[in-house]
């Protein structure tokens, strides 16, 4: 059955970062390329291997700086692994740094069209869903306001509204639920529920056990860049609590 083929296949993926110097010298780049480990480097992700089947809802846990966001960026395709491979067999709607794609000088209207278009939404789809997006973001009066004049809460609302309307089979959510007021948070929850019910694959990074338990059936626990636990969400949360709970 095709439905049981993995939609995301991560094989021995590793990402290397530099601790100190921001970049190597010109000479190193041109002569040595990006081979070889250098002093001050560390693996933000190290030998991570897992499969995701369509429709799975996966929660990623771990303390700050243990590679959660890096993992999501790999799946989103905005970062490339230094080792191993990340194969993604379907489109991705990344709710990562979502306000990043918005241009402060353009109006909200133009920004919606631009961001949706950059994420691959067709012109017809944008026109069709425009009202839905505006409605969801609750910003009908601010459509022609430059994006920079919105409050930070509004910015996140617009961004979430656009990206969560992408008809992509995979959704990545990185901590965006932490912002916004209570009412909007409720709406976001409802929207994610809706997407899950529609059979989307969810990848959620969160520090909230409640959110993780609510949405996810499977958990990944990252520690120092390594995948130390992969199993049912509750078990993974229990393991995380046992190991890191005391220091939180």
């Amino acid at each position: 059955m095709t439905a049981s083929e993995p939609v995301i296949a991560v094989r021995d993926a590793g990402v290397r970062f530099h601790r100190g110097r921001r970049h190597r010298s010109m000479r190193d780049f041109l002569i040595r390329g990006d081979r070889g480990m250098q002093p001050g480097e560390f693996w933000a992700l190290d030998g991570v291997t897992f499969d995701v089947r369509p429709g799975e809802a996966i929660g990623v846990v771990g303390r700050n700086g243990q590679g959660k966001s890096t993992l999501l960026k790999l799946v989103a395709g905005v970062m490339l692994p230094d080792r191993g491979s990340v194969d993604v067999g379907a489109g991705v709607a990344p709710l990562i740094e979502i306000t990043g794609g918005f241009v402060s000088d353009l109006s909200v209207r133009d920004n919606i069209a631009l961001t949706a278009g950059l994420h691959g939404m067709s012109k017809a789809d944008i026109a069709e869903r425009f009202d839905e997006i505006v409605d969801f973001a609750e910003i009908p009066d601010f459509l022609d306001t430059p994006y920079k004049h919105l409050s930070s809460g509004m910015k996140v609302r617009v961004a979430f509204a656009v990206v969560s309307r992408l008809e992509e089979p995979i959704i990545l959510v990185d901590e965006v639920l932490a912002v916004g007021d209570k009412a909007f948070k409720r709406k976001c929850y409802a929207r994610i529920d809706e997407l899950l019910a529609a059979g989307r694959t969810l990848f959620l990074v969160s520090h909230s056990d409640k959110d993780l338990q609510r949405f996810c059936d499977r958990g990944l626990y990252l520690k120092q860049g390594r995948l130390v636990e992969d199993g049912p969400m509750d078990d993974v949360l229990a393991a995380y609590g046992r190991e890191d709970g005391g220091s939180q």
Binding site: D34, L80, V86, A90, E97, G101, G117, G120, G199
Partner: protein, 297 residues
Amino acid sequence: MLDRGPRSRRLRVTVQYVEVAAQATAGGANLRRSKHTGLPSRLLALWQRRRAVRLLVARDLKVRYASSALGYLWSVLEPLLLAGIYWFVFTQVFTRTVGAEPYMVFLLAGLLPWTWFNGAVIDAARALHTEAKLVRSTNVPREVWIVRVVLSKGVEFLLSLPVLFAFALLYSAPVDWHLVLLVPGILLMSVLVLGIGLLLAPLVVLVRDLERIVRIALRLGFYASPVIFAVSDVPEPWDAVFAFNPLAGIFELCRAGFFPGAVNWGHVGLSAVVSFGLLALGWSVFARLERTVLKEI
């Protein structure tokens, strides 16, 4: 009846997925593999996201022309003023011994493409840096950010051409069928600027002071290119050096319509070789540095 029920949605998504998978095995359409990919698959990926390029170019032009009433004037003002100054210096102060008559048309036919080259190289070199937030958050082929600069500057060049024709008319310069050589000139310029942009953009992210070096190089490059004179005006040992400047052939193609005999096909051939060579070099450097750049921005 239960058209919008979860079950049918799930089915639809599954079907979508099957389609995607089939597409992927057929031609790598939507399937993203993180292993090193060659030029053909990079070109294919770029072509598939051409809509993103169109959107960005449209946005650039909108910002350029719609946001200020003088938008169009600004884009042609600099080459016009430069042309005026050079015309004054070389025909009024000195006695003109270089270029060809009408000198104003000769100048503009070089200065307008130079303005494209200059602006596109500066903007392309820092493209990944200035759009860091967008590059970090959207999964489009990273070449898009360079192609977009080359194209929007190219459209600005096209829109500035009427100025050239207006001056040609004013000076009643002879115009013949060689004017069509503008087309290969424009194509060659796009190839050249894209190659240089792909080469510089990742390097500027990693070595910030390169941006200053680029500016200085461009200022010197202006005099190392046949803008205010022709390669044929350069004395014996040096003209060979100028011939290797890929802009020499391109400017000759741009001037061909107004100045019979302006084209030296040897220069054009060299220009094509250098331009395509730079494109190949630029693209391979870009592909090689991509993963490092994504971590640094």
